[in-house]
């Protein structure tokens, strides 16, 4: 299994250059946090310096002691004699002078709160009338819960994929043909639906745990009985969820027969066609150099697989199958449907941040030959069709509102009207539903 090498490269770059990168690429929140921390550190340092200077003030001298008896005086003399000769000078290492005072946020916070309590207590003792006991603010009685019903079907409904029908000739038994994407499982998630259970979990997450009331989800609706403040939080959450999801994508698809020389002359920036390139294609269509074969429009939910088809379908006797349910085996004719014409299947995925749409598109264009061999086998006429077919699939990123040529077969020769060469053009547009 081959893995994308870019993933390892990105992780390696982040781990090695992390700190340097962090400094250079500071986000506004990180800058704000750094400034907040710096301001808190400075304020704490000033407070502690003042506290320490308050603590170093010599206390008032105690009153003169009454005259001692001789025994006490002798005891005090012994104590004084036992004291160290030279008080040790405070040795401050050079390094300590330059070391920044560590800033332990939690510890300084607790320490300063303790100091504040002590200062207030002292002020109260000094002047009780002027500095009365601070009472804790009265907590308001909790507001009564109110009932509100939110319609959240746009968030919880999951869209269904609509894959294109089979095209081409398959095995003789079922003539199911080959899918546009060759039968590979497509594990991408359809649509952007949250699911009722997940939404309920998120809503409960923004409410206070001990808040009175209830929240239920049923049939695409949130039935909430909570205090107004909790309801506001839920509304804000739903707004956030909706802004990042929802909306429909309209994809204007065009299938052109485009000469190679014309395509080579386009500038091909790669990120959508410019206005000049769009005008050049329109002019070429007008003068007949480029032929517009089909121009369907598809509307899809973000992430939904949809398709458009234009052509014919017919049944043929594609073979015979054995029925052994009875005593003796019997042969029955096998009927298959063959689809021909143009089939386009697309899945758009919108990146709102970058205004880009990733479009995964498959195209097939096919035509049955007019002459079909018919063969008499075991008493039944089995039909053996022939078909001309072109298939391709592409995945590309197209800027929202701009068009891009995603892929196809360009016309290398003159247009004889029978060729199946064509290229796909796509232009996605976001349609937002207005909410009442």
């Amino acid at each position: 299994m081959r893995l994308n090498p870019s993933f390892a490269a990105v992780l390696a770059a982040l781990s090695v250059a992390g700190p340097a990168l962090a400094q250079e690429r500071e986000s506004p929140e990180e800058a704000r946090h750094r400034e907040q921390r710096q301001a808190a550190r400075e304020a704490a340092r000033e407070a502690w310096d003042l506290i320490e200077s308050y603590g170093r003030v010599d206390p008032p001298k105690p009153p003169k002691p009454r005259p001692l008896r001789n025994d006490e005086a002798r005891d005090r003399a012994i104590d004084r004699l036992a004291r160290p000769l030279h008080p040790e000078p405070e040795i401050v290492r050079e390094a300590e002078r330059d070391e920044p005072i560590p800033f332990d946020v939690q510890s300084d916070y607790e320490g300063l709160k303790e100091m504040r309590r002590a200062i207030l207590a002292r002020l109260r003792r000094l002047d009780p009338k002027r500095f009365p006991l601070r009472r804790a603010p009265r907590t308001k009685a909790p507001a009564r819960p109110r009932l509100k019903i939110f319609d959240v079907q746009d968030l919880t409904d999951r869209t269904v994929d609509y894959p294109a029908p089979n095209v081409g000739l398959g095995s003789g038994l079922d003539a199911s043909g080959a899918d546009i994407d060759s039968g590979e499982d497509d594990s991408n998630t359809p649509g952007v639906g949250l699911g009722g259970e997940k939404l309920l979990e998120l809503v409960e997450g923004v409410c206070d745990e001990d808040a009175e009331g209830s929240i239920e989800f049923t049939s695409g609706r949130l039935i909430v009985r909570k205090a107004p403040e909790q309801l506001k939080r839920i509304e804000a959450l739903l707004k956030t969820l909706r802004e990042g999801r929802g909306g429909l994508l309209e994809i204007e698809l065009r299938v052109y027969r485009m000469p190679s020389a014309f395509y080579s002359a386009l500038n091909k920036s790669g990120s959508g066609l410019s206005d000049a390139e769009e005008a050049a294609i329109a002019a070429a269509v007008k003068r007949g150099e480029v032929r517009l074969l089909a121009a369907p429009r598809l509307v899809a939910h973000d992430g939904q697989k949809v398709h458009v088809r234009r052509g014919k379908s017919r049944s043929i006797i594609s073979g015979l199958e054995v029925n052994q349910t009875g005593v003796v085996p019997t042969l029955n004719p096998l009927i298959a449907n063959i689809n021909e014409g143009l089939v386009v299947e697309a899945r758009p995925i919108l990146d709102r941040g970058r205004q880009l749409v990733l479009i995964d598109v498959g195209l097939s264009i096919s035509r049955l030959s007019k002459s079909m061999e018919t063969r008499l086998i075991q008493g039944s006429e089995v039909e053996l069709p022939q078909m001309l077919i072109s298939r391709t699939a592409s995945t590309g990123k197209v800027p929202l509102g701009r068009g891009a040529i995603l892929g196809g077969v360009l016309a290398a020769g003159p247009d004889d009207g029978r060729s199946l060469q064509c290229v796909i053009y796509a232009r996605p547009r976001l349609i937002r539903a207005r909410r009442r």
Binding site: L112, S260, I349
Partner: protein, 375 residues
């Protein structure tokens, strides 16, 4: 808190809690001075507490990040086989005469063995692990939360951690935003161009320079070379894409007899096995963007197959005619690393001289990859 600061705090506490007797003895003036000093001290302490509190008391904000394009598993599309359906007779070239599926120095891989390519950059579980590793697991205890749901990253965190998550996602998106456009050209070239391309391709591991490509384009413009076919494919890095153009036809490949019955009543029937014969040309290709110190390159892994129907003969059988197709096949499976803006010669065929007469058209298949960087 340092020892020095602790001592200072203790000294202040002791001073504050000391009996007011000394203050009263000093007189009203010193009491007023002390109150003034304490008020100034209280103002400083409350200012410091006000600055520290936002760092202590965290507010949590919910946000969702759309990561579907990061998790998008680009479907790998494999071109249909353009060979006669059924198993091959004989044994694999280079494996020796002892039979067996594989072996020998030269082993041409079975085209049915497909490698699995990872189209997506990473999966949801990996994403969560990366975020924990980059931001620190300690920050994700309740009420913070992080999970991936249906391609969206749902995060409840402080604004600071949200900014770190956003920055990480930007880095991952930058790697995922690359896509590739492949121009595939089928050319019929003049002798001197053929020679130049053959020599350059051999010396540069299949890659063709921009100058050579310009020579080819100029020759086509002048009519000295012919562009037989031209197609365009768009894909994400590391995604397999394909094109197929040609014809399909049903034919009776064989019959399968089945019988049944009891006693004297026994009947045999023959079921026709109808297969599909596909001819034309098919190309499937994987392009992977390689960002190096110098010019970025594209690693191409290509499989090209061209088949033409020579004859669809008929043979009699006990139950009816069986079709026997005969096709001419050219196929190649190859890889190269091509600098962006240059080309790769995938396939070239000269006139077929293995038969007694020369047949076939000379075709050069050149692929030009272009890296598309979306802003």
């Amino acid at each position: 808190m340092t020892m020095k600061r602790l001592c200072g705090a203790l000294a202040a506490l002791i001073a504050l809690s000391a009996a007011p007797a000394f203050a009263q003895e000093a007189g009203k003036q010193s009491k007023a001075d002390e109150i003034k000093e304490l008020q100034a001290l209280l103002a400083k302490v409350e200012k410091a507490i006000g600055k520290i509190e936002p760092l202590i008391k965290k507010t949590y904000v919910f946000a969702q990040y759309d990561l579907r394009q990061l998790f998008f598993r680009a479907p790998d599309r494999i071109a249909p086989r353009l060979t006669i359906p059924g198993s091959n007779a004989g044994y694999r070239t280079g494996s020796g005469g002892g039979g067996g599926a594989a072996g020998g120095v030269l082993s041409f891989g079975d085209s049915d063995e497909e490698e699995s390519y990872e189209g997506a950059l990473l999966d949801p579980e990996k994403m969560v692990e990366i975020i924990y590793a980059e931001t620190g697991e300690d920050h994700w205890e309740s009420p913070a939360s992080l999970e991936v749901s249906n391609g969206f990253l749902l995060v409840k965190q402080t604004p600071l951690l949200h900014s770190k998550v956003r920055r990480l996602l930007e880095d991952l998106r930058a790697a995922a935003l690359r896509s590739i456009q492949l121009e595939v050209g089928f050319y019929s070239l003049s002798e001197d161009l053929k020679t130049a391309i053959a020599v350059e391709s051999k010396t540069r591991g299949g890659a063709l320079s921009q100058e050579t490509l310009k020579r080819v384009d100029a020759a086509v413009a002048r009519g000295e070379a012919k562009l037989v076919g031209h197609s365009l494919l768009s894909a994400l890095s590391n995604q397999r894409i394909y094109l197929h153009t040609g014809a399909e036809r049903n034919y009776v490949a064989t019959f399968e007899e089945m019988s049944g019955g009891t006693g004297p009543v026994v009947k045999s029937v023959a079921m026709p096995i109808v297969e599909v014969l596909r001819t034309g040309l098919s190309l499937d290709i994987v392009g992977t963007v390689l960002e190096g110190d110098d010019k970025p390159r594209v690693a191409l892994d290509a499989r090209f197959l061209r088949s033409d129907l020579i004859l669809l003969d008929k043979r009699k059988s006990a139950w009816g005619a069986i079709d026997i197709p005969q096709i001419k096949v050219d196929s190649v499976r190859t890889s190269a690393r091509v600098p962006a803006g240059e080309g790769m010669l995938i396939f070239s065929s000269d006139k077929d001289k293995t038969d007694s007469k020369e047949t076939g058209e000379q075709v050069f298949l050149i692929v030009r990859p272009r890296i598309i960087k979306t802003k």
